[in-house]
């Protein structure tokens, strides 16, 4: 398990991360979201041992990561811009990764190249940005490391490949001890893949929670209650995060389980009441508003 305790990092005089404390549970996909410049890449670079924190500590199973090779060998970091040697080919890059990562599965890598229809002997400089990103992911998958840190991984991937990559994540999770950490500013991309989410904003971690429990503890309901007094009573009984009234239609986002909220609404004799699915974006909007952050500046 990767654990961050009061981690701070500044670039010269500009603070990038401030006292971050979080845990990344093994075997789950951890999504790291936040606006541009929130500190997602910095956090991943700290976790992978590229940067040294000014304060706090980052440990993997209790051991510090920075400059500890026996710990770093469990982590593979995929940068937002894939780095390859001049004149390299997918095959030669595989050869290099095999030297550096002794658990690198070359057969698996070749098989993945084939599945993704990537010619192994073609020079990488002739590939498109998306293809380079694919190769980077395939190299990362094949390293056999326990943790795969992906910075803006899905940027530049077409929907088909994106889906295929998500399947790869799922397959790897089933196959071995594997914990991907995916940083993105695109909430929709992470919604259907991540198990837990950390939200970074202006260098601070607002929260890191399990996505299902977040979804269970919040619900969105639409109802029409003819009696205005009863409508007022419902709003006072619910732990409302957000509500909106359009004509006679009341839309409420409130804390509590779907059953509890619906039960309270039914008691007010509505003409119509139903619970709607909450998107990750709506959860964040609600949570961040509660946390006192201006949502308009938070999510792009």
């Amino acid at each position: 398990m990767i654990e961050l305790k009061y981690v701070s990092k500044a670039f010269q005089d500009t603070p990038a991360l401030t006292r971050i404390t979080a845990r990344i549970q093994d075997g789950l996909i951890f999504g790291l979201v936040g606006s541009n410049g929130a500190g997602k890449s910095t956090l991943l670079r700290l976790i992978s041992g590229i940067l040294k924190p000014e304060e706090g500590e980052i440990t993997l199973d209790g051991s510090p990561i920075f400059e500890h090779m026996d710990v770093k060998k469990h982590i593979c970091f995929l940068s937002d811009s894939a780095t390859y040697f001049p004149n390299a080919t997918p095959e030669s890059m595989g050869g290099f990764y095999q030297i550096v990562y002794p658990l690198f599965d070359r057969d698996n890598y070749h098989s993945l190249l084939q599945k993704f229809n990537i010619p192994p002997k073609k020079k990488l400089q002739t590939f498109s940005k998306g293809q380079k990103k694919q190769i980077s992911l395939l190299l990362g998958f094949s390293t056999g490391t326990r943790y795969l840190l992906c910075d803006e991984t899905f940027d530049g991937l077409d929907p088909v490949v994106r889906q295929a990559v998500k399947s790869l994540f799922a397959a790897e999770l089933l196959k071995r001890e594997f914990t991907p950490v995916i940083a993105s500013h695109n909430l929709r991309e992470l919604e259907d893949i991540c198990d837990s989410i950390g939200l970074l904003h202006q260098g601070s971690l607002l929260f890191a929670k399990d996505l299902d429990s977040m979804k269970c503890s919040l619900c969105k309901m639409q109802c029409v209650i003819p009696n205005h007094a009863k409508e007022e009573q419902l709003l006072s009984e619910l732990s409302v995060l957000q509500y909106e009234k359009s004509g006679s239609l009341l839309t409420v986002t409130a804390r509590g389980s779907r059953a509890e909220v619906l039960k309270l609404a039914q008691e007010k004799e509505p003409l119509f009441a139903e619970v709607l699915p909450l998107s990750l974006e709506e959860i964040f909007i609600s949570e961040t508003e509660v946390a006192g952050y201006d949502i308009k500046n938070l999510i792009q």
């Binding site: 041992g49 590229i50 090779m69 940068s79 811009s81 780095t83 030297i99 550096v100």
Partner: protein, 721 residues
């Protein structure tokens, strides 16, 4: 698991990624070592007779090792610099790119491992082709038949020198890469590190000489040695030179490119090979450790910033801008005249511009040219402070004069005397002859009874106080001359000063010193002559027709003995105020200095002139009479075909200016016998005097004697009308 990483495979991969450099290195080294050496050897043997072949073999045995390390091969020297820099830049350029730094630093390798893997790859990219090229060259050389076991051993040492010189550049450039975050600033930093020691050393030695008229550094100071070994440029040239010529039979080849470079920077003593190798090894190890330490401390986020350690920015700015602007000031300012005002103005202008340039390099933003105000202010104040101290002589350097009782001894050097005397080893430029006197530094020339020198120095200090030294430097006069004095203090150190003193007092002092026979023996070149080496003695009088004296060996020795007696007895003032009536010249075998001389002039003699004869040299003159040689005191006008009378003068405009100008010259051919007779009555044999010649400007004449097959012209100074 990291232990399972194959380092050799990693290095192989790294070299493969830098394949272009490996190919470039191999091709250039093959061209600059093997091909150029073979061409040199081929050229040496072309059009050579069998007799010349042996001489060529000797030459090649001396020069061949130097061709393997660049000491005798300019292209190879430059290539060592280029490859050292390229191997370092390509090996560590990833530190200057955020993406590539992230890539390398995310790998499960420690920074120490990464460092040594890149380091070794770079080293191998140079070393393998270099050793191969040297091996091919030696194989080719052995085919010509001049290589011996001893030369092969020297080739090995020379190759070691080449490798160490490469490592010096390599380490310096890696250090620069560690200190910076952009390739451009990395290359600039490497150049700065390489030349910084030399620039500051030269500046420290020479800058005061522009401001302090009495400034003299002396030699053998501790910081000079420090400079020799802490300046990479100086070390680079020393390593190449010393390892190339180690145990060479004739080390006169030492005046090669590397030594030229080194002496250009600052002349200094040479060191033994063991000292050079030991200091180089320590220096390289220290650089390596420092670089490794910096790599471990270097933040990854430094990539793409000008400097890896931004806190050092103002210090680096100050350290670079002050000496560089002073250098620019001195170089540019001295072109505008001999005064210091341009040096001051241009140094101050240069420091402001340099600070702006450095800030631009730091920020790449013209709007921030004058960011870092405090460091700019410190730089400007630093330059102004140094110039102020020197210009106003705030520490009283020029007027410093020690108490007489604080001195152990003193010595005096009158540079003007060196134009009057010619010593065998300076004329032949060879150490095989007795060394010429070193009045300033030689231990035996330090005078315990130094009262005359002290009095002379006292006048020098007084002249400096009164500004006479400046007047003398602007308008050279026969009445004043420059001397150098060494004060040996009882505290155990020596202080040197240059003074302008009156010629009369200098002559008095020299006369007093020459009261000791031992001093005269040190002064007069005749006492440095090895009679056995003398092949001929020539006599020249006012007719300027040098004649080889037909003497037996004993007669010749007797003549030289008589001359010795005369110089021991002569009143020194006579050597200043009287005109020589003729001179003896002595032939000694020439031991050539350079390879070309050895090839073409190896059997020649060299003639030492300047054994002047005066009317008071009775012993010599009577012996010459006895041998049948009479010195003609006057030129017979009937023997003169033509007089070319020349007059040199400075224009009024030119003399008002303190810049260097050539005098105007008027020429007039005189053939009228009456005028010739008049002119002949007024010429003297020579203008040479013990304390300097009669000034060059004024009337002089060139004379064509009758009966000469070819015109023979001799320059003579006319006596005052």
């Amino acid at each position: 698991m990291t232990s399972k990483i194959s380092y050799s495979k990693f290095i192989k991969e790294d070299i493969r990624h830098r394949g272009w450099l490996a190919v470039l290195s191999a091709v250039l080294l093959l061209l600059c070592v093997t091909v150029s050496t073979i061409l040199f050897v081929e050229a040496s043997f072309s059009n050579n007779t069998q007799a010349g072949l042996e001489e060529q073999f000797d030459l090649l045995r001396n020069v061949f090792p130097a061709l393997l390390n660049g000491s005798y091969n300019l292209f190879l020297s430059v290539l060592l610099l280029l490859l050292g820099a390229l191997c370092a830049v390509t090996g560590f350029a990833y530190l200057h790119s955020r993406e590539r730094t992230d890539f390398y630093h995310s790998l499960p390798l420690s920074r120490k491992q990464l460092f040594f893997l890149s380091y070794l790859s770079g080293l191998l990219i140079f070393l393998v082709p270099y050793l191969a090229a040297c091996a091919f060259t030696i194989l080719a050389g052995s085919g010509y038949g001049f290589l011996t076991i001893s030369v092969l051993g020297r080739c090995g040492i020379s190759m070691l020198g080449g490798t160490l010189a490469f490592l010096l550049v390599y380490h310096i450039t890696i250090l620069a890469m560690m200190l910076t975050g952009k390739v451009v600033t990395g290359i600039l930093a490497a150049a700065s590190l390489f030349f910084y020691g030399s620039i500051t050393g030269a500046l420290a030695a020479d800058l005061p000489s522009f401001f302090l008229s009495t400034y003299c550094t002396g030699k053998e100071r501790v910081w000079d040695h420090l400079y020799d070994f802490l300046s990479p440029l100086s070390m680079f040239t020393q390593i190449l030179g010393v390892t190339a010529y180690h145990e060479a039979q004739d080390d006169s080849y030492i005046f090669s490119f590397s030594y030229f470079l080194r002496h250009l920077v600052r002349p200094s003593d040479t060191y033994s090979i063991s000292v050079i190798l030991a200091v180089t090894a320590v220096f390289l190890a220290a650089l390596l450790l420092l670089t490794l330490l910096l790599y471990q401390k270097r933040p990854s986020e430094a990539a793409e910033n000008a400097l890896a350690f931004p806190r050092t920015a103002p210090y680096i700015k100050v350290l670079i801008s002050i000496p560089t602007s002073l250098c620019i000031g001195v170089l540019a300012g001295s072109m505008y005249g001999s005064g210091t005002k341009w040096i001051i103005l241009l140094s101050l202008l240069a420091v402001v511009l340099l600070c702006g340039l450095i800030e631009f390099i730091y920020n790449m933003d013209v709007r921030r040219l004058f960011a870092g105000k405090y460091s700019t202010l410190i730089s400007v104040l630093g330059v102004a402070g140094i110039l102020c101290v020197l210009q106003l002589d705030l520490f009283g350097y020029n007027t410093w004069f020690p108490e007489e009782n604080s001195l152990e001894s003193m010595s005096l050097d009158i540079s003007q005397m060196y134009g009057y005397f010619t010593y065998p080893n300076t004329a032949a430029l060879n150490a095989a002859y007795s060394p010429s006197p070193d009045f300033l530094y030689g231990k035996k020339y330090q005078q315990k009874d130094f009262a005359p020198i002290y009095a002379l120095a006292g006048e020098g200090v007084e002249n400096t106080r009164n500004g006479i030294d400046k007047l003398v430097s602007q308008n050279p006069s026969e009445d004043y001359m420059n001397i150098t004095v060494r004060y040996n203090r009882k505290l155990g150190y020596s202080v040197y000063r240059r003074y302008a003193v009156s010629t009369d007092l200098a002559l008095e002092t020299l006369t007093a010193l020459c009261g000791e026979e031992s001093y005269r023996k040190q002064l007069f070149p005749i006492f440095y002559m090895d009679y056995d080496a003398v092949s001929a003695v020539r006599l020249t009088d006012i007719y300027f027709e040098p004649e080889v004296l037909d003497l037996t060996e004993s007669e010749r020795d007797a003549l030289l003995d008589a001359y010795k007696k005369d110089v021991l007895n002569v009143d020194i003032k006579e050597l200043q105020y009287e005109t020589p009536i003729g001179e003896l010249s002595i032939d000694i075998p020439e031991i050539p200095l350079s390879a070309s001389l050895q090839v073409y002039n190896s059997k020649l003699n060299i003639t030492l002139p300047g054994f002047y004869l005066y009317e008071s040299y009775e012993n010599s003159l009577s012996l010459l009479e006895e041998y049948g040689y009479t010195i003609r005191r006057k030129l017979d006008p009937d023997d003169v075909e033509q007089f070319k009378l020349m007059e040199s003068y400075y224009t009024a405009e030119a003399s008002a200016d303190d810049t260097f100008t050539l005098p105007e010259t008027n020429e007039r051919i005189v053939t009228d016998p009456d005028e010739i007779a008049d002119l002949v009555s007024r010429i003297s044999y020579t203008s040479s005097r013990i304390l300097g010649s009669v000034p060059v400007s004024g009337q002089s004449a060139e004379i064509l004697l009758k009966g000469s097959k070819d015109p023979s012209y001799y320059s003579m100074i006319l006596q005052d009308e």
